[in-house]
């Protein structure tokens, strides 16, 4: 999973590419550390090139969402492919993470 973060003040545009699973979840957690600090972050996760997420990936997104909520910010995931979106739907995660 490649993570590219473009930051402009409190706005973060994050491009996610590839698969997110148990083999790279630890690295992903390190990659998104810049998103875990600062007040009122406004985060967009661009999932155009995200191929897959496992349960471990869902846990990472949940952790990020909670951190963003606690700092009064907002997070949205965009351009998910139908397979990835289905993972969020069938686990109920699309009820708790904003996906557009």
């Amino acid at each position: 999973m490649n993570v590219t973060i473009n930051q402009e003040e409190n706005k973060f545009n994050v491009v996610l590419e590839g698969r997110l699973d148990t083999t790279n979840a630890d690295q992903f957690q390190k990659d998104i550390e810049p998103l875990m600090t600062g007040e009122k972050p406004d985060i967009t996760l661009d999932c155009t090139a995200m191929e897959y997420t496992s349960s471990q990936g869902l846990r990472m997104f949940l952790m990020l969402q909670k951190s963003v909520n606690s700092r009064g910010g907002s997070m949205v995931m965009t351009n998910m492919n139908p397979q990835v979106k289905e993972v969020f739907d069938i686990t109920g995660f699309s009820n708790i993470i904003k996906i557009i």
Binding site: S55, L62, E86, D89, N95, I96, I100
Partner: protein, 370 residues
């Protein structure tokens, strides 16, 4: 402290000595104010009470000098002046004034002789300033420092009033006692008429709160007794219902498919969705659970059974119940797409998701019964 500095006020020797005493004890007054405000805030927190404001001030030297100039002869020493530290609690409701008065009585030594309940000073046909003024001391059980006995000796004032009483008092002060111009009786009468209206509004707010609390108690009793058909669906009733954890059984059942962890999320957004689906009472939700839990489980099994997903949101059970309800009632793809639009906001995903669900569930037993 420079005597020369105090002479600028032009007070006589007696009043100047009181001002000197004030300066010498200023830090103790600040400490008294902090002790009082901390104590009140902590007591409010412990009692789960919310108020508009808890505030306090130490009278400024200039203001004290002005008071001494006007009526310095009344005071033998600084201790005779009881409003150098002034504190105030402004409440939302009239009954809270009495509750906070009880808190004050439990925590402070009240000088009853000098305390005044201005609310009880009005005659049947008079309206105006309404506030409870307590003159108090900090008791040793609350704070004791042998090096500063004055902290327990100086008296101070605590005012308790509602937000509307506070507003009236401020406006009355602003309109009635400002400058040298005598205010015409007509305007003073209008201010007092307004006091009557605000008193009525305060009473009405309290009456509404009592009625709402009584309604909540009745609803909680109905929910607890399981008479769900009699309980209409609203924020309070749904919250009380969720306290019974009505969807846990289905969630646990679904989680067992993949030995998944359940992430607990709020189900309150589904109140809106149940209303959207036309549910009127908690009984309607119970009926849905009774009639469709097995089908919702089968749907979840179909969806996550073939995956290695081992985490689900606690919203899954309700989500799947609603999906099954829509499909069973002939809502089809359009019904599902509209439901998802309402739940998560309009998105092209919602139509795709609805199509996928219709295709997936076509062979499920509950669809064959249609």
């Amino acid at each position: 402290m420079e005597q020369d500095d105090l002479e600028k006020y032009g007070l006589d020797m007696h009043c100047t000595m009181i001002l000197e005493e004030y300066r010498a004890n200023y830090e103790s007054f600040v400490k008294i104010k902090e002790i009082i405000l901390d104590c009140i805030r902590q007591a409010l927190k412990q009692n789960g009470m919310f108020v508009t404001a808890v505030e306090g001030r130490v009278k400024e030297e200039k203001s004290l000098a002005g008071k001494l100039e006007l009526k310095g002869h009344k005071y033998r020493t600084l201790s005779d002046i009881t409003d150098i530290v002034g504190t105030r609690v402004i409440t939302f409701y009239t009954d809270d004034v009495d509750k906070i008065a009880a808190i004050a009585e439990n925590n402070f030594d009240i000088d009853w002789e000098n305390s005044v309940d201005k609310r009880k000073m009005h005659t049947l046909d008079s309206f105006g300033y309404m506030s409870l003024h307590y003159i108090c001391r900090v008791p040793k059980k609350l704070y004791h420092d042998p090096a500063h006995p004055e902290i327990n000796e100086f008296r101070w004032e605590l005012q308790l009033r509602t937000t509307l009483q506070h507003m009236w008092a401020n406006m009355n002060h602003d309109c009635g006692y400002k400058g040298d111009v005598e205010i015409p009786v007509e305007h003073l009468r209008n201010m007092n008429r307004l006091a009557g209206v605000l008193e009525l509004a305060d009473d009405e707010f309290s009456r509404i709160r009592i009625a709402v609390n009584e309604y909540r108690r009745q609803v909680q009793a109905l929910v607890a007794s399981g008479n769900f058909d009699e309980v209409s669906l609203d924020v309070d009733t749904f919250r009380s219902y969720l306290n019974l954890k009505p969807f846990d059984k289905l969630n646990n059942h679904i989680a067992a498919i993949n030995q998944a962890e359940i992430h607990q999320d709020t189900l309150m957004p589904y109140l809106r969705m149940f209303k959207y689906l036309g549910f009127k009472t908690l009984g309607d939700i119970e009926k849905l659970q009774k009639e469709s839990s097995d089908d919702a489980y089968q749907l979840a099994k179909l969806e996550i059974g073939g995956t290695d997903l081992d985490i689900i949101s606690s919203t899954v059970s309700v989500q799947d119940l609603c999906i099954v309800h829509i499909l069973k009632n002939g809502g089809g793809e359009d019904g599902l797409a509209s439901f998802f639009d309402e739940l998560n906001g309009p998105s092209s995903y919602n139509r795709t998701r609805a199509q996928r669900l219709v295709e997936k569930t076509a062979r499920m037993p509950f669809m064959k019964k249609q």
